[in-house]
Amino acid sequence: MIGPDDKVSEMSAVPRLMLRGISKVYPSVVANDGIDLRIMPGEIHAVLGENGAGKSTLMKIIYGVTRQTAGEMFWEGKPVQVENPAHARSLGIGMVFQHFSLFETLTVVENVALSLPGKPDLGYLARRIEKVSEKYGLPVDPRRITHALSVGERQRVEIIRCLLQNPNLLIMDEPTSVLTPQAVRRLFDTLRQLSAEGCSIVYISHKLDEIQELCHSATVLRAGKVAGHCIPSQETPKSMARLMIGKDLPVCDHGAPRDSGELRLEVDRLTRRSDDPFGVHLDGISLQVRSGEIVGIAGVSGNGQQELLQALSGEAPLPDRTQVRIGGNDAGSLPPQARRRLGMCFVPEERLGRGAVPRMTLAENALLTAHRRGMVRHGLIRFDAVRRFAEDCIARFNVKCGGPNAPARSLSGGNLQKFIVGREIMQEPKLLVVSQPTWGVDVGAAAFIRQTLIDLRNAGVAILVVSEELDELFEIADRIAVIAGGRISPSKPTRDTNVEEIGMWMSGMWPGAGSKGSGGNGKEVQHVA
């Protein structure tokens, strides 16, 4: 299925990058299967696909991190085999990874110097960084220490690092997953400017609205193969989603908010210094969640979400027991198991290693938190009950796996997330705390998980969702609050607010910010985009 763009390229005949029949076979999986791709100079080309569709593998081949099993690659019309990332950079290919590779304790200029060959002069380099950052609207102070930078600023450092090498092709891997809406706008301005100067950009994402706004053309991958090409501006997000998952996207049925029920979770002026030197101190956090509602907490990661969630789950109990109340009981100092007995369940954001033990089977992982549901008698495990629970969970939550004896790490991220969400829900919680419910989960599974949360709310459960995805919160939450710099904004009913307002609040600027809370000394919160 080669798209109609074969004839477009008559003017600038030579594509910057062309892939022909690229395949990559791993022992257990075919990650790429005969992929063709063509990127013209100055083109912003989207590569979209679900989790596991083969996007990352393809980029690693282009960047020389891994080598294709079959197929050819042409750079500026000439056949080339990229040996390693240094080779890729010397060709003029730069890549900004989804997870940053900066040293926290070094300054910006030192971090950049590390990626350059030889021993560059730091003063001269700092001036070059300033020049590039000015030219492309990427404000960064080269002398600042990296750990003090916001996520958006770190990404700018990564981009500047690539731009210093004057790339002709820039690969961006899910660049907006960590940015506020305002920061996304600025990033897009920078990318458009680069494109106008002739730099080609490969933009990997699963956010369809962004692709529509930014990209000139798109290649859709599904299960390692090219599912089609399209011109995003001529498509709708719905039609692209269909191309991506092969069927229509299920739509969440929210239903009107109901009258608020009884108070299930109450956090009262929670203040705590973080043990982590790079952590965030919680400062006077108060929030309430009632039965039958979903409260969403928005915010850019690293603004206190981890610390708040650990205080809620009991992984880091508090000295003051009254700061967290679950179902009317003082629970601040209780350990996790005692909080579960009060009816709280918790889905953490890391699936492997925290929500599940990687090498253990699904059945054994069911036992991890659901053991109070008749799985243990006289201190001994009842294996039949464990197995039944796991089988139930797999069936009810549509977990694709090899059965209850499959090790957790053999599942895809989305399926393991469904299993963990299912395990927590099947314990019939009164209060469910969920962190990043659909992070890295494919579109179909994400819709399923969101609908499950809404159904649970309709059944009268109190739900707190912490998420970086604003669209998600607007889809499912009844009220939204924002966490920034360890402080929390007042909550607002979702229907009375919009993405722009919440985006503004994510920079720490909500009405009354600075004068509210116990430590309200007007200190300006960082991360202003």
């Binding site: 991190v65 040996e83 990332p85 990874f97 992984e315 033990v357 253990m360 036992l367």
Partner: protein, 364 residues
């Protein structure tokens, strides 16, 4: 040409249990070559080493006697190893257990009370557990690596035992040998089969395996320890304590090693000497892994290891081979097991050109 280890898509469960058998098979084949290389007739050597020791009832009783401390230590170590707590110092805990038990025996040498033996068991367990409490404390307080601390404490324990039998506990009628007085009958484990040395310690070992089976394979607490050992974050999330896991793992291993030490001084040796251990503490690590940290597996592998000990003695007597032949067999067994285990998870592939990029760049 380049050899490359490549992860298998899925590790075979069947091979996990077959791998110790393959290792045993390869060890036996290796033994044939070893005998041949030493100028002995391979089959003759084989017979002397593996068949002679167990061809009569007395031989079998000796086999069980040798296996007793190995079982006791290995089952205790399995509790810790399953939780990824690596207690390598069972040898030291064994020696301290033997010292504590000897202390009770020597202190009450005039008494004929039935309570002396149970007292010695408890003293041995306490001694071993105390010795293991040092690494547990250092691990949980200061994150000191338990592998190093337990190992180093072995040598300390050996010097303590040596000092006692050269000094305060030396038998006055012992012709200046480094050993304590012989224990009174009331401090010796009763013999099970008349005419042999097999004693009640063997029953203790079997009972420990049964208790260990319930704890490791069935109990919720054993499961929690495995979680804590494999994924500390998951344990904290579920509310299981990692520190408590370290403590239980080390104290259990220490106590069982201490009981093994008691079963030797109150059994075949009958006194404290400065060589109370014949490397049981280290051999038991191999026993635990060859037995796949499973109580039934440990039962079988401890009998195999005991056979290697006895075969070594036979080889000295009848083949004029040095006693270290046993150690060579032990080493071969461990080597082949580790090698066989590697191929459970990986396979070898021959690649034409070494992928230089991979060597220089760690895949993202």
């Amino acid at each position: 040409m380049w050899l490359k280890l490549e992860a298998r898509a899925e590790a075979s469960q069947r091979m996990r249990y077959l791998s110790p058998l393959i290792a045993v098979g390869l060890t036996l084949v290796g033994g044939l070559f070893l005998f041949a290389a030493l100028g002995k007739h391979p089959l003759e050597g084989f017979k002397v080493f593996f068949f002679n020791p167990v061809h009569d009832l007395y031989g079998l009783s000796e086999l069980c006697l040798k296996a007793t401390p190995l079982m006791l230590i290995a089952i205790g170590l399995a509790v810790g190893f399953r939780a990824s707590v690596w207690n390598i110092g069972a040898e030291g805990q064994y020696i301290i257990g033997a010292i504590f038990a000897s202390g009770v025996a020597l202190h009450y040498e005039q008494s004929a009370s039935h309570w002396i033996l149970p007292g010695m068991v408890i003293a041995g367990a306490v001694g071993g557990a105390l010795w293991a409490a040092i690494p547990a404390l250092l691990r949980t307080r200061f994150r000191a690596n338990e592998i190093l601390v337990t190992l180093m404490l072995v040598y300390v324990a050996q010097f303590v035992a040596s000092w006692l039998v050269h000094g305060p506990w030396k038998d006055p009628q012992g012709f200046n040998f480094p050993q304590s007085k012989m224990f009174a009958d009331s401090a010796l484990l009763p013999i099970l089969l008349p005419g042999t040395r097999l004693n009640a310690g063997f029953l203790m070992a079997l009972a420990s395996l049964a208790v260990g089976y319930v704890f490791l394979q069935r109990s919720f607490y054993g499961y929690q320890m495995q979680v804590a050992g494999q994924a500390e974050e998951a344990a904290r999330y579920a509310g299981y304590s990692y520190k408590r896991t370290v403590w239980v793992a080390l104290l259990t291993g220490g106590a069982m090693s201490g009981i093994a030490g008691m079963s030797e001084v109150a059994g075949p040796i009958g006194q404290l000497t400065d060589s109370v251990s014949s490397n049981y503490g280290f051999a038991a690590i191999i026993v635990a892994f060859v037995g796949r940290l499973n109580p039934i597996g440990i039962l079988l592998s401890s009998l195999l290891m005991a056979l290697l000990y006895l075969g070594g003695e036979q080889a000295q007597q009848y083949l004029n081979l040095p006693s270290s032949i046993s150690k060579v067999f032990e080493g071969m067994l461990l080597f082949f097991l580790l090698a066989a285990d590697l191929f459970i998870g990986y396979r070898v592939r021959i690649v034409a050109n070494p992928p230089l990029g991979k060597l220089l760049w760690k895949a993202h």
